[in-house]
Symmetry: C2
Subunit: 385 residues, 2 copies
């Protein structure tokens, strides 16, 4: 066994830790671009609060609030252009996975001279310093280097990440998460589950990432349903926020697998589909495929144990299959039972989607426990349709 491990993000977790954003930000710059979505951070008042906190520490900020749920390269390039015009020296991502992912891509594009899409192939020279303030529990983007963006012309939705894209510091304040609607809590929380399931069973899994995964599974078992049903439950919100960070750290080192590889082109081609809903539609068929791999099966059995399934006289294989039943129950409990067609995917796009998994998310395909080609990927999509 051999592995490398690295994550340089300074994490600040705590109730009302948003108040420290000014002190943290001024270590890095005086002219901040706040990258956020169109409405939720405005409605909750968090955006105004952040602008004031920054101002109190002498930081001028301007707001770019055109980030859509599946951020496009046009949005990112527009924000990078604005950052250059305004001599921005610091990017602050505020919100869920979309603005946080975008903040990293913008930080790269604002430092360079080429469209952001080109950085899929060209290593950037650097990035503006990035701070993340996360409002959902799911993305993990707050603590890792990854960014996902959509090319609206082609429907491609690749993930990418370079060392310069690590946020300098991440603020995780569970109070901000209390305003998350139930469906967002469910879909983003399910993203946490799939992150740790895929990192834990992936080919490049390693013991340090495993430690994050095992803890995140325990927190998910304890608090995922409660966070969905009791939005103000700060203990459940905190647990999910920590699980999200642990999962973000885990995938930073151990990657994702076929579920993510297929979901990206699903929501890339159908941008109204929430990422977590797409994952939910794909997970059962993917687990039924991966359970054929012995190492994966052993890990599934361990996860089943963490989720409270009693071993007794059962074989490891029994335990692994029990995990699939556990996952079905979770999907039912949090209301994520929709198949791909229920989500609006059209059948004639399945072949395009299966191909794009290999062209835009091949690192995730390669990390999947079971080796698969386009044919098997298409089968998996059909099973999930």
């Amino acid at each position: 066994m051999s592995f490398d491990f690295f994550n340089p993000v300074k994490i600040h977790f705590g109730t009302d830790s948003l108040k420290d954003a000014g002190k943290i930000a001024k270590k890095y710059g005086t002219h901040a671009l706040i990258v956020t979505g169109k409405s939720s951070m405005q409605k909750s008042g968090v955006l105004d609060k952040l602008v004031k906190i920054l101002k109190d520490e002498g930081i001028n900020s301007i707001v770019f609030s055109d980030i859509t749920p599946n951020p496009t390269i046009d949005e990112i390039d527009a924000a990078a252009k604005l950052a250059k015009e305004k001599n921005i020296d610091l990017i602050i991502g505020l919100g869920g996975g979309s603005p946080l992912d975008s903040s990293k891509a913008i930080a790269v594009a604002a430092k360079g001279n080429i469209p952001v899409w080109d950085y899929l192939k060209i290593q950037p020279k650097g990035a503006l310093p990035i701070i993340t303030i996360v409002s959902t529990s799911g993305t993990g983007s707050e603590v890792n280097r990854f960014s996902v963006m959509t090319n609206t012309k082609t429907g491609e939705k690749p993930g990418f990440g370079y060392e310069c894209m690590y946020p300098k510091e991440a603020i995780i304040d569970p109070v901000i998460m209390q305003s998350m609607p139930k469906y967002v809590t469910a879909t983003t929380g399910f993203d946490v589950f799939v992150h740790v399931l895929e990192a834990y069973t992936g080919k490049i899994s390693n013991p340090i990432a495993d430690s994050y995964c095992e803890k995140a599974f325990a927190l998910l078992r304890e608090s995922f349903i409660a966070a969905c049903n009791e939005p103000e439950n700060i203990k459940a919100r905190s647990d999910m926020a920590i699980a999200s960070a642990l999962a973000g750290l885990a995938i930073d080192s151990a990657g994702v697998g076929i579920i993510h590889a297929l979901e990206h082109p699903v929501s890339g081609n159908f941008p109204n589909i929430a990422h977590g809903a797409g994952l939910a539609a794909l997970i059962i068929a993917s687990m039924e495929l991966n359970i054929k791999d012995k190492t994966c099966r052993e890990k599934y059995a361990k996860v089943a144990h963490i989720f409270g399934n009693i071993k007794g006289n059962k074989t490891e294989e029994d335990m692994a299959y029990e995990l699939i039943e556990t996952v079905k129950k979770i999907l039912s409990d949090v209301g994520l039972n929709a198949k791909l067609k229920d989500l609006g995917v059209s059948e004639d796009k399945l072949e395009k989607i299966s191909k794009e998994a290999f062209t835009t998310m091949n690192f995730a395909v390669l990390n999947n426990p079971v080796v698969l080609g386009e044919k098997e990927a298409l089968e998996l999509l059909k099973d999930s349709f």
Copy 2:
């Protein structure tokens, strides 16, 4: 709950990963000072191998091999002087906790103009880049910012650590550990156990550090005894090397407690005592004290569970007490049953030792689950005598 978390060390784990030392080192400098002890890395041939690996990548190195098991400030200041004279631009720590701790202190002193002891009170301006290559499984020093040094005039043995003291990269090669003698494997391995026990139950424990601790406990259960009894068992050596790193990461964020606070002055005043042997002498009385704290008791019960104690109808308190029995069994299995007097501590020094815990390791005293003053600390030493 609130916590901060940060660790920027690049970890390279793997069989024969020593071979990558040159490629890694040349990112940071061309004139390396290798800091090591007087004999084991010479005898095993690892030192010669490292010098050649560095040379092959164009890095000149000189060796400072005067580091003793409890490194003194004189050794550190002498090495720093040498580093300045030779225009060293990179410090490589090679060996167990002593050379690795020293490499960080030397990196600070070589960059500054005052004796290393003064940095206990004065924040350093920076440090030369540090690379660690660890030969034991215990210290955790390979992946964190801490350094421990002894003032031979006073017997004081404080720990200290600044952000500039993080190693840039850490090479963890379990093959190097196969040459560790049984007693070293036992004492350093027990240090791992105490690191995670104290980080897990400390006042500033947090869920990210907890995830490391839980994984490390599982690896210790699996492989500590085997590593002691079967030196060539590469699986056991790997597990212990990973447990050591996880424990090093855990204490970096969550600190240690009274066992470490008292052990430092023990081996500070009696430099022939191995750190792990001192910890072993102190652990039972310390656990019997800390078990009175409810939160600590709950955590002890969880550790007992990880070590395979079956809950059944037992209360949490029963489970917590079972952990003490488990620890006694481990001590017996690895041959670390000596009390302080068996190790050579003289009774008339107990009062000095208890006082020094508060003057040199107060951060660890403050992190202990149960609040205690000098009187209680002295009682604890007497119980361990």
